[in-house]
Every structure is written in structure tokens, then in C-alpha cells.
């Protein structure tokens, strides 16, 4: 079945509304790109290089994500409203393990 490569993700926007997204896992997409393709208000200014912090989100589900790299942490230093579950969504490379992932968009300053 083709659906094998599709995962579901839920994203809470800044108004508290939850959006259900479907994403293919065989196209090397990251979460920022998928959210942008659904026209959610994510800037992704730098294009996904962990160089701008404009795709900052909070991970709400208890998925075991890879640790944030030093570059990602460095960039989070320049973001605001940073919490323990803060991540740059461009650094979450989507794979089957992320099915059911839940995130919330961080406020923009």
C-alpha cells in the first residue's frame, strides 16, 4: 500500500487551533517544510539550515527525537520563549518513527 510512507502529525498554531498534517517519509522532508507546505505561519527564513530560529516549535508528544545539535542549540540561544521542549522544526527530519508527532508553534516576537 502506498500509504506506508505517510505519517500523521498534529500542529497547534498560535491561536490554539490544531491542524492535522500528512507527510511522506520518503522525500527527506523536515517538519518546517511540511508545515510550510500546509501554509502554516512558519517563516523558515534560512531555508532549513538551523541559522535563523524562525521555525521554533515545542514538541508536545513524547516521541524520542534525536538530540538537538550544537548548531541548533546555538540558534535557540537567539530565539525567545525557549522552553525545555523547544526545537527548530527544520531540524526534525521526518521518518516513520515520527507518526503521531504533536508540536506547537512558538510565539513570534
Amino acid at each position: 500500500m502506498e500509504e506506508d510512507n505517510i505519517i500523521k502529525i498534529s500542529v497547534e498554531d498560535r491561536e490554539g487551533k490544531t491542524h492535522s498534517l500528512e507527510a511522506p517519509t520518503d522525500m527527506a522532508l523536515n517538519l518546517m517544510e511540511v508545515m510550510k507546505s500546509y501554509e502554516l505561519p512558519v517563516e523558515g527564513t534560512c531555508g532549513g539550515m538551523a541559522l535563523c530560529a524562525s521555525c521554533h516549535c515545542y514538541v508536545l508528544s513524547d516521541h524520542d527525537l534525536s538530540e538537538a545539535s550544537e548548531a541548533e542549540e546555538d540558534m535557540l540561544d537567539q530565539a525567545f520563549f525557549v522552553e525545555d521542549n523547544s526545537r527548530l522544526s527544520c531540524q526534525i527530519k521526518l521518518s516513520k518513527e515520527h507518526n503521531g508527532l504533536g508540536v506547537k508553534l512558538a510565539p513570534v516576537s
Binding site: E70, E73, D74, D77, F81, V82
Partner: protein, 333 residues
């Protein structure tokens, strides 16, 4: 007053290449950029990242591409106004423009080409209630003159090179320096990190990690900053608060120029990348149209078509003949 054929707002890759294509048509260019250096995002955000989709270069570092572009446009002697932001435009004589920068520089141009990328880079401002009210009244996003801080109590926030470097320098001048940072580790150059750690041990810098500034107080001028650490919130009496969280692009005053804007991008006609205001064009990442791709490559193409239209506007009575550089070269232009 500076006078030019094409005034290019934004000295990123697309703005720079515009000089080349304009030069082939004997149009001269003046570029302005809010950043103090050319290259836009390529210099400011990712100079050491390789780019793989520039024709003819299987891989080129962003910073190197900027250097090559500068070399390529050098024969056309472009002029630059750097470190100044385009603030306002007014139309004169029916068809020319005068642009004024935030520092009062005025430039008279026949055509304006906005190649502003994502906008002008401005300091990231912490989302602290009331902070705007105290900007330049104790809250400074840049250190322009260190002497301002002599014998003053200052608080610096941030974890990068500028936060570390200014902490080190101002520790010599100010009566008290506090550095507040979100984590215990810093992303700055290793020797700066070591130096700040030494200063903290020697009691010359008050280093507060795993903390952030969350509030400020003061009416006419800054009186103090509230910081939140892992365990507590506390008020620090300071004369100056210097948040150093890097720069981020903002569309800025361009948004008020009566241009049609959709989602922070300027709508253009793909015939010649003209905007709804005759004589103003928008090229590169700052424009939008059906099928738009934000690629340097596409910006180069847009610049090339745009200057053809600009020529017709500046010299309506002259015939434009298209020539290949392989036939005429660029010498003697």
C-alpha cells in the same frame, strides 16, 4: 546628491548581479544595504555554507560567491551606501525618484530595483513588555560607543560572540557587568568563552546562566531589569540593558511604499518584474508571483529581464540592441 540610473536596494547576490546586467546596457548602479557589508544573507547568515545550484559551480561557498560577484561587477564601478536602511521615496519631475536612508543620505535615481531579500537585518528584540518605550533610554541593541558605559552598571543578554566580546570589553570600563544567558554553554569563540569564565571567577563579571531577562522597569529611563533563573526571579538595578540576540530580517519601511504586498513579498509582473508603482521593480527573494521560487538562480534571471525594462524607462527614445558578451566582451563598456 548622489545620482544614478538604477538604485538597487539590497546588496545581496541578486542586487550585485543586477550591476553586471545593467552595466552591459551602460546603465550605472548605486546599491544601498542596511548591513555594513555586501552579500546580504550569504555574508550575514551562511558565508561558510556550500551552494550547489549555481550553474558552472558544482559547489561554491556562499561567501566565495559574493567575492566572485564583486569581481564580476567591478568593471562597472558600482557605488555603495552600506549600513544605511532605505527609509522613504518620493517622486520628482514626474519620473525620477529620490530615496532617503535612515541616516539622511539622499539618492536621485531613474529606476528603483528592490532586491531586498527578506528585508533589512535588524536586531532581534526580546519580547519584554514595555521594552520599546525604553529603547535608547537605557536599552541599546548595539554598542556604538563603549565610553557611554564608563562607570555604569550594565546587563548584557545573549550567548554569542557579540555578547561575549562586549562583556569582555565593557568589564574594563563599566562599574558592573552582568551577563545573562539561557544555557551554561556559549556558542562564541572558545577564547572568548574562557576569558568570560576567568572574569567571572575573578569577580569582574557577574555571570548568570540558565537565566533570561523577563521584565524591565523605569519610566523616563531604564532603572532595572528582572531576570528569571532556574530557581527565582530577581530585580537587578542597572543603568543599561544590552540585549544581543543577533539580527533577523524585517520588511521594514518598504511595506509603506504603496506597493502591493502579499505575505511579506512584493507582487510583480513577470514580464519585467515591475511592481504596481511605475519605475519600481522587485527582484529576488523579496518578490512574489505565480510559481515563484526563492533561488539565487531565479533572482539572476529576474535581474536580467528587469534591466531591459529599466533601460526603456530611462531612455525611452533609444533603441536597445541585445548583444552577447561572447561577441562584444565587457571591455570598453
Amino acid at each position: 546628491m548622489i545620482k544614478t540610473d538604477i538604485l538597487i536596494i539590497g546588496a545581496g547576490p541578486v542586487g550585485l548581479f543586477t550591476v553586471f546586467e545593467a552595466g552591459l546596457l551602460k546603465l550605472n548602479c548605486h546599491l544601498i544595504d542596511a548591513l555594513p557589508q555586501v552579500g546580504g544573507q550569504l555574508s550575514e547568515i551562511y558565508p561558510k555554507k556550500p551552494i550547489y545550484d549555481i550553474p558552472g559551480y558544482p559547489s561554491i561557498l556562499a561567501g566565495d560567491l559574493v567575492d566572485r560577484l564583486m569581481e564580476q561587477i567591478e568593471p562597472f564601478k558600482p557605488k555603495f551606501t552600506l549600513g544605511e536602511r532605505a527609509e522613504s521615496i518620493e517622486k520628482i519631475d514626474g519620473d525620477r525618484f529620490i530615496l532617503t536612508t535612515n541616516k539622511g543620505t539622499k539618492i536621485d535615481a531613474g529606476v528603483i530595483a528592490i532586491a531586498g531579500g527578506l528585508g533589512s537585518f535588524e536586531p532581534r528584540k526580546p519580547p519584554i513588555p514595555g521594552i520599546e518605550k525604553l529603547e535608547d533610554k537605557g536599552v541599546n541593541y548595539f554598542v556604538r560607543d563603549p565610553e557611554l558605559y564608563r562607570n555604569k552598571k550594565i546587563l548584557i543578554a545573549g550567548g554569542g560572540d557579540s555578547a561575549l566580546d562586549w562583556t569582555i570589553e565593557l568589564a574594563e570600563i563599566a562599574s558592573q557587568v552582568t551577563l545573562v544567558h539561557r544555557r551554561t554553554s556559549f556558542r562564541g569563540a572558545l577564547d572568548s568563552v574562557e576569558k568570560v569564565t576567568e572574569l567571572a571567577k575573578a569577580g569582574k563579571v557577574n555571570l548568570v546562566t540558565k537565566a533570561q531577562a523577563i521584565g524591565i522597569h523605569g519610566e523616563e529611563k531604564l532603572e532595572g531589569v528582572k531576570i528569571k533563573t532556574e530557581n527565582e526571579e530577581k530585580d537587578l538595578d542597572v543603568d543599561y540593558f544590552i540585549p544581543l540576540f543577533g539580527l533577523s530580517p524585517k520588511l521594514g519601511p518598504i511595506a509603506d511604499w504603496d506597493l502591493n504586498i502579499t505575505k511579506n513579498a512584493i507582487e510583480v509582473d513577470t514580464l519585467d518584474y515591475s511592481t504596481n508603482v511605475p519605475g519600481i521593480y522587485a527582484i529576488g527573494d523579496i518578490n512574489t508571483y505565480e510559481g515563484k521560487l526563492k533561488l539565487i538562480l531565479c533572482g539572476f534571471h529576474e535581474a536580467t529581464l528587469m534591466v531591459q525594462s529599466a533601460f526603456k524607462r530611462i531612455y525611452p527614445d533609444q533603441k536597445l540592441s541585445f548583444k552577447y558578451t561572447t561577441v562584444t566582451g565587457i571591455e570598453g563598456l
